[in-house]
């Protein structure tokens, strides 16, 4: 009996000291409400917690729409977690504002990652993504055949003239309500993510990336004006609806209302279900090379974390191909490496969405890497919505430039 008591006490003591030795790391994630995503992230955490005895990650999930505001409020209240996830283009702002610290992981492990998944600001890695997202021109092979159109490829995308000829052919066929669905129902980040690549393909940009200190010339130069006129013509000439309700965006293409839809890989599975002959075409080249947006959600470490080495250990652990593939299979996102892509159902060679991996590798351009982007994105969105509604192109872009420049000046150049 005495032996048993001693053994039990020793076991309890050993368990207690092990539990004490395991340091808790808090983590915030934007996936609340998404069952599949939550399941995968919880699996990674369970695997990590079970794989070693130094660290124990505890997750707090937030709904995506409320996540950024929650992080900003948490930073103001001095209540940030150790690990957080951040939308790629927002990262420079959070790093500049002092919410995040550089991410010190073995960078050889991310050497093969798609460029859009690496959150680099001021020459330092702050965040890394377990996936990327890409946009394509979605249509059906049968539409291309009926309209007599060449199928564009990564090597030979449509030129602006070819793209407009395709819209003309779709419009003239009388088969569709509109030739093109750019996705006007999706406000917010969709505008700069999906539409600024058109501007960049024309040769303009949201801000001058050589200095990040002005938008003058980039957003109101000749290329930007040409883009603005083209953008307005889509709506003025009846190619696309200037306003759209979200339900129409979700189901319009599947209902046959549109010949072409500008949409992301996250919607591709549903489209394939509706039309097995769906094809995902590369972005047209408007003169300065075809472009699409890049950078999705990424993991990083908060500046207030007292255990950055533990947080980095978790992030490194999560970069395993099996987890990258699990996210891809679960929610349709693009795996960041070829090896992970090969393990997935949709992105493996010959998979239905393999083309997105190629698009992401070949055409992706990250949004302006500057803390001021969070303001510039909103200004850009408003300008494009106004132009779509018929506002004067030059005046609207000039006003947007003034607003962006005033913000940059007000914030002392955002550290550039």
């Amino acid at each position: 009996m005495k032996m048993f008591t001693v053994a039990a006490s020793a076991a309890i003591l050993a368990w207690a000291s092990a539990a004490e030795a395991q340091q808790t790391l808090t983590m915030w994630y934007h996936g609340a409400g998404n069952e599949v995503e939550s399941k995968i992230i919880n699996q990674i955490i369970a695997d990590f917690n079970g794989s070693q005895s130094d660290w124990k990650v505890e997750l707090q999930s937030f709904p995506q729409a409320a996540y950024n505001d929650s992080v900003v409020a948490g930073a103001l209240a001095g209540n940030l977690p150790d690990i957080l996830d951040v939308d790629g283009p927002v990262m420079p702002n959070w790093a500049w504002a002092g919410y995040m610290q550089p991410l010190k992981i073995d960078e050889s492990k991310i050497a093969d990652f798609l460029p859009g998944t690496k959150g680099i600001w001021n020459g330092q890695l702050y965040s890394i993504g377990l996936w990327d997202a890409a946009v394509a021109l979605v249509t059906r092979q049968s539409y291309l055949d009926e309209l007599g159109l060449r199928t564009p490829t990564l090597e030979q995308p449509w030129t602006k003239d070819e793209f407009m000829a395709a819209l003309d052919a779709a419009k003239a066929s009388g088969k569709f309500e509109y030739a093109f669905d750019p996705g006007m129902a999706w406000t917010g980040e969709w505008y700069p993510y999906a539409f600024s690549p058109f501007l960049q393909s024309f040769g303009g940009d949201i801000v001058d990336r050589s200095t990040y200190k002005t938008a003058e010339g980039a957003l109101n130069g000749e290329a930007a004006l040409a883009f603005g006129e083209w953008w307005q013509s889509l709506f003025k000439n009846g190619y696309a609806p200037a306003t759209q309700d979200p339900a129409d965006r979700d189901g319009g293409f599947a209902a046959g209302k549109y010949a072409f839809s500008w949409n992301g890989n996250w919607a591709a599975l549903n489209t394939l279900k509706a039309f097995p002959d769906t094809v995902f075409l590369p972005a047209p080249d408007f003169g300065n090379g075809p472009k699409i947006g890049a950078a999705s959600w990424q993991f990083g470490i908060s500046a207030s974390s007292k255990h950055p080495e533990g947080a980095a250990a978790f992030i490194e652990f999560a970069l395993q191909d099996k987890y990258l593939a699990a996210f891809s299979d679960g929610i349709g996102l693009i795996p960041p490496t070829k090896t992970a892509a090969a393990m997935t159902e949709h992105y493996k060679p010959g998979g239905a969405m393999e083309v997105f991996f190629g698009l992401s590798a070949a055409q992706a351009l990250v949004r302006p890497v500057t803390p001021g982007y969070v303001v510039q994105a909103k200004v850009f969105e408003k300008a494009l919505a106004d132009i779509a509604s018929g506002a004067d192109v030059a005046a609207t872009l000039d006003a947007a430039v003034d607003e962006i420049n005033a913000d940059i000046e007000k914030n002392g150049g955002y550290g550039h």
């Binding site: 915030w28 609340a32 409400g33 998404n34 069952e35 707090q60 999930s61 937030f62 709904p63 995506q64 729409a65 409320a66 505001d69 929650s70 409020a73 948490g74 103001l76 209240a77 001095g78 209540n79 979200p246 339900a247 979700d250 189901g251 992301g264 996250w266 919607a267 549903n270």
Partner: protein, 292 residues
């Protein structure tokens, strides 16, 4: 002649009822749309949305959206949190604000007019202007609880309740109502030797049913619809209220049927509370001219 008059009266009555029914339908249509949509699969919901079918229980009707909503988010927790926070705030607010108004109207003390003016001036300040300073303050406030003295009120019920107990609008409503009560009653009670608290509890409050109902409903709606503040102060899921919970349903591909099911569920407490206090609320509007 009498028959023509009777006919006219009947016609007027029929017209009046027709107009009232039309107005009632306009107000009730969004609710009917919400409940009917919550019973339909997404594809049918979207197809029906452009026709009268949107208001009818037709097609593939089921409760599957409700089950899915409970799977997607801890709906019960959110509703419980909102009802708890709202209920406690409403009760405490009625007590504190009515007592404050009582002191402003019936008790003579130096500076009460100035203080009342300052209190009313707070009505022009939108909450957003004080949200950040308030957040920074509550993040460092002390609290004595079961764990002893702790610092910071984040992730708690009290942080969602205490800042909203006292507010200028509710005090103002009570002040206006109390001013119309017969002063003779108060004077008689004072002559009889009643204390201020006895007058407040035994004379003024029993006469204040309509304004209590009005203030309760207005406060209930404000608290139940809280979004920004709980979003800022509740990082733990277990303390989140219904409006923050609504965001769980807005993923990249929105499941509209589940959204409608969730909205139907969270509307139930509001409707129940309103129906419970409806008579007193209407009586209050009729007597004070205050509109909700």
């Amino acid at each position: 002649m009498a028959m023509i008059s009777a006919d006219n009266r009947g016609l007027r009555l029929a017209t009046r009822y027709a107009v009232l029914v039309l107005i009632a339908l306009i107000f009730i249509f969004p609710l009917v749309f919400m409940v009917m949509s919550s019973l339909k699969p997404d594809q049918q919901l979207l197809q029906d949305s452009g026709s009268l079918r949107a208001f009818l229980p037709v097609g593939d009707i089921s409760l599957s959206n409700y089950f899915a909503a409970f799977q997607r988010a801890p709906v019960g927790t959110f509703v419980f949190n909102s009802v708890l926070v709202t209920g406690v705030t409403v009760v405490l607010s009625l007590l504190v604000c009515s007592a404050a108004a009582f002191a402003f109207v019936f008790v003579g003390w130096k500076g009460r007019d100035v203080l009342l003016s300052i209190l009313l001036a707070t009505l022009i300040l939108p909450f957003e202007t004080i949200a950040i300073p308030l957040l920074m303050m509550v993040a460092h406030l002390p609290w004595l609880g079961m764990d002893g003295l702790t610092w910071g009120w984040l992730n708690s019920y009290r942080v969602q309740i205490v800042p909203f107990i006292a507010d200028g609008l509710t005090v103002f409503l009570f002040v206006q109502y109390f001013k119309d009560l017969p002063g003779e009653l108060i004077e008689a009670a004072r002559v009889e030797g009643a204390s201020w608290f006895q007058i407040y509890r035994r004379i003024v409050m029993p006469l204040s049913g309509p304004i209590l109902a009005t203030a309760a409903i207005l406060k209930f709606l404000v608290m139940y619809n809280q979004y920004l503040w709980p979003l800022m102060v509740t990082q733990a899921e277990g303390y989140r209220p219904v409006m923050v919970g609504l965001q769980y349903f807005f993923q990249l591909n929105v499941a509209w049927g589940e959204v409608m099911a969730y909205l139907s569920l969270i509307t139930v407490p509001v409707l129940a509370f309103y129906l419970y206090l409806q008579k007193a609320f209407i009586a209050s509007i009729a007597s004070t001219g205050v509109k909700g």
